[in-house]
Amino acid sequence: MPQSHLAVPAVGFLTVAQSDSLGWTGGYLLLNSQGRPLEFHCTLPVRPSRAHEILYGRTFRSHLIQDVLAPPLLRQGKTPPLLLCTDLEELLGFEGAGIEIPVGQILDGSSLQATCDQACAVPLPSAGFLRVFPGREDQVRSIIDQFRDLVDWSEPLMRIREAIREAQSHAVLRAA
């Protein structure tokens, strides 16, 4: 029986993988301060219809991420994270929409220059920045300090994608 992780400081990472054949899959990974996995949740692939794409138009992607994929993943997590990190700009809108923890978008230096709000970027230990809502900088800095062993903050997103691939291939094998 997995031990309770409630008292363990944790950081959440959330991203979405999209493929033409399978559709959209969300993945949510919770790490402890050593970067070891505590929980992992992923959605089954979601295949929106053409009507969805047409009628949502330019809001289709943000609707899918913000309204469809992310909420059930965050609800499934047992360990409350101190911070939610993502590579999806759409998830920045989560703050204020019932999510009380800070949400940060991981950016590298060149991506940051392309955005307007450089003032809300908190530098990460290894490389890149975390784009957060104004007023959250100090809180996010103190959280990052607790996770010094996390060398590369964009690397867990790669783990999520790899885990999604593994889960999907596992499902295919079982179906076969």
Binding site: P2, Q3, P37, L44, L69, P72, P125, S126, G128, R148
Partner: protein
């Protein structure tokens, strides 16, 4: 339209009424009223008012089709992992840290049986890690095929890359492992049954230790038994001190009572035992009283014969995981591999299987790399210092000779010359090679063990000694490898034949050579292993000897094993030479051969810390 009459009074009644029906059938425009006055005679007629008739277009109203979007249903699947909140690692004490630093700085191009680079790990404080210092290559732990449950497979996949674990957080390393070593650690970590079959010199020991360390620190296992040949016990102790300094270890040795206590002692997560000792404690091991989470066999080809007593005893040890380390998993036939697999996973392979089936079945359990495959990661020369404990007989002879020799040197007082000291040093070095009374030699035992692996791989080795007598004492033990000799006692006209045979005869795996023999033109670059059975005073002479094997055009990296007897004069000489070499390299370029060739007079006298009532004896002596 109606017309009446012909003349004058014609009236034309035009009656047009257009009905434009909207969607509800209502008129959208009033009927038209047109006034027309004309006569075909040209007379003016009275104005007429056309009548409008209604024309109804029968059209059904358009249908309305509601387009509703069904909400997208999302199902999730999730896992919680049995993760310890933190690694179970104690911080290394300051003394340990300095030992590690010394180990890192003491190796120019390698470490014992590790083949690791010399660059010390940059243990940078938090916030100082730059993008440039992030490892470019990430080694992930892959779940083995035998792991089928998705949760278990994800557990391995979701671990941080090994490069992030190394040097960060709790796990620090004295030197950065090579890429292939990361792969080996990632191979071993998730496996319950594994053979690490890398070619000698690629660092099997280091990879095994690191994987064990990670398993212990993460709480996945609690106790480990490491079984190795007796001459390698001290080597494993030293390697564990370097690569896993925080892990307590216990060497099973001593009398029966002591061994029984050691076997049961829970304070040491890693226990080291030799194959011979297992026979004596067979009853305890097979009683079921002791269980190991991991049993690792070094030189696992020792159990290739399933019917041997050693193999039976080892298979009977209660355990959860089984690892085997060997550079030669197949020495003579595939049957050897079947024998090893009887330890890893009994019944998994059988002698009746053909070669292809064996290869297919065993594929996921074996990892073998050869130097040529990992060449791009390896330096051209790899040094490994084999610190070897003297046998009991050698140690007794050595202590007696040293004690007596120092007494004699002191008695000489002002008559003491450097020649006297040299003589004592040489006598002690000879004892480090062979016990004068019994001929026992721990260096030879180690050499034979290594040569077995080298010969089985089809490789060739050069063995250097400063004494021809030592070479001649070495020869009988190496007869299985068809040795040839090349030194001052070999007539000049036969020397070329010796070299030709060593080069061309595939069964001739070793040449025994003295430091003084040979010439600049001697070219042995087809040898990939060099053993310095005893070391020369002058590093430049050693380098020249080594370069006979390592030359431009060498087919692969050369592994140089420098043998030295632990806690003896050899070790003291090596320490002095090494400090001089480091100082020299710090000042001069590597291409120059400078004044730091050998030991100075002061250093030689200092080997024995010779003192008189007037003070330390120094170079002022004759």
């Amino acid at each position: 339209m109606e017309t009446e009459g012909e003349c004058g009074a014609e009236r034309t009644n035009q009656s047009v009424q257009a009905v434009a029906g909207g969607h509800d059938g209502n008129l959208l425009s009033p009927p038209l009223a047109v006034g027309v006055a004309f006569s075909w005679l040209g007379k003016t007629c009275e104005r007429t008012t056309p009548t409008v008739q209604e024309v109804v277009f029968q059209a059904s109203p358009p249908r309305v089709l509601p387009v509703s979007l069904a909400p997208l249903q999302v199902k999730t699947v999730g896992f919680q992992f049995p993760e310890s909140p933190s690694w179970r690692v104690k911080k290394a004490s300051p003394a340990s840290a300095s030992e590690i630093a010394e180990a890192a700085s003491g190796n120019r191009l390698g470490s014992v049986d590790t083949g690791v680079r010399c660059s010390a790990m940059a243990s940078e404080p938090s916030g100082a890690i730059s993008e440039q210092s992030l490892p470019k290559r990430l080694t992930r732990i892959r779940p083995p095929q035998e792991v089928v449950k998705l949760q278990d497979r994800l557990y391995f996949l979701l671990q941080p890359p090994l490069e992030h674990m190394v040097g960060m957080g709790e796990l620090t390393f004295p030197v950065t492992p090579f890429a292939h070593q990361f792969d080996g650690i990632a191979f071993l970590f998730p496996r319950y049954a594994a053979i690490l079959a890398d070619e000698m010199g690629l660092g099997k020991t280091m990879q095994a230790i690191t994987a064990m360390r990670m398993l212990l620190c993460s709480g996945e296992i609690r106790n480990i038994l490491l079984v190795c040949p007796k001459p390698l016990v001290s080597n494993w102790q030293r390697e564990l001190r370097v690569w896993a300094p925080e892990i307590p270890i216990a060497v099973i040795e001593g009398d029966s009572l002591r061994r029984q206590w050691l076997w049961r002692n829970p304070a040491a997560p890693i226990k080291i035992a030799n194959y011979e000792l297992l026979m004596r404690d067979r009853e305890l091991l097979n009683s079921g009283e002791i269980h190991f989470d991991l049993v690792t066999l070094d030189e696992a080809q020792r159990i290739k014969n399933r019917n041997s007593a050693t193999s039976e005893i080892v298979r009977g040890i209660p355990r959860t995981r089984s690892w085997a380390l060997t550079g030669t998993p197949i020495e003579n036939s595939p049957e050897d591999l079947v024998g090893i697999f009887e330890f890893l996973s009994p019944g998994f392979l059988s002698s009746e299987m053909n070669l292809r089936s064996i290869a297919q079945a065993a594929g996921d359990y074996i990892l073998r790399r050869t130097k040529d495959k990992v060449l791009k990661d390896m330096p051209p020369k790899m040094f490994r210092d084999a610190e070897i404990e003297l046998t009991a007989e050698q140690w007794a002879s050595y202590q007696m000779a040293e004690k007596e020799g120092i007494v004699q040197l002191r008695e000489l007082e002002e008559e003491l010359t450097i020649q006297h000291v040299f003589e004592l040093v040489l006598r002690l070095k000879q004892i480090c090679n062979f016990d004068p009374a019994t001929g026992a030699s721990s260096k030879l035992e180690r050499l034979v063990a290594d040569m077995e692996e080298i010969a089985a791989s089809g490789q060739k080795a050069i063995v250097f000694s400063q004494w021809v007598s030592s070479l001649q004492q070495i020869r009988p033990a190496l007869e299985p490898f068809q040795p040839v000799e090349y030194h001052g006692r070999i007539p000049q006209h036969r020397r070329d034949q010796v070299i030709d045979r060593f080069r061309d005869d595939p069964d001739c795996h070793v040449i025994l050579m003295s430091y003084g023999a040979g010439s600049v033109g001697l070219n042995l670059q087809f040898s990939q292993y060099v053993f310095l059975f005893d070391r020369w005073w002058n590093p430049a002479v050693e380098d020249q000897a080594i370069n006979r094997a390592h030359r431009i055009g060498a087919t692969g990296p050369v592994t140089i094993t420098r043998m030295l007897a632990a806690n003896t004069i050899e070790q003291r000489i090596a320490e002095v030479l090494e400090s001089k070499r480091q100082m020299f390299e710090a000042i001069f370029s590597a291409a120059q051969v400078g004044p730091a060739g050998g030991l100075t007079r002061d250093e030689i006298f200092g080997l024995f810390n010779l003192r008189t009532p007037q003070g330390p004896i120094s170079s002022s002596a004759a």
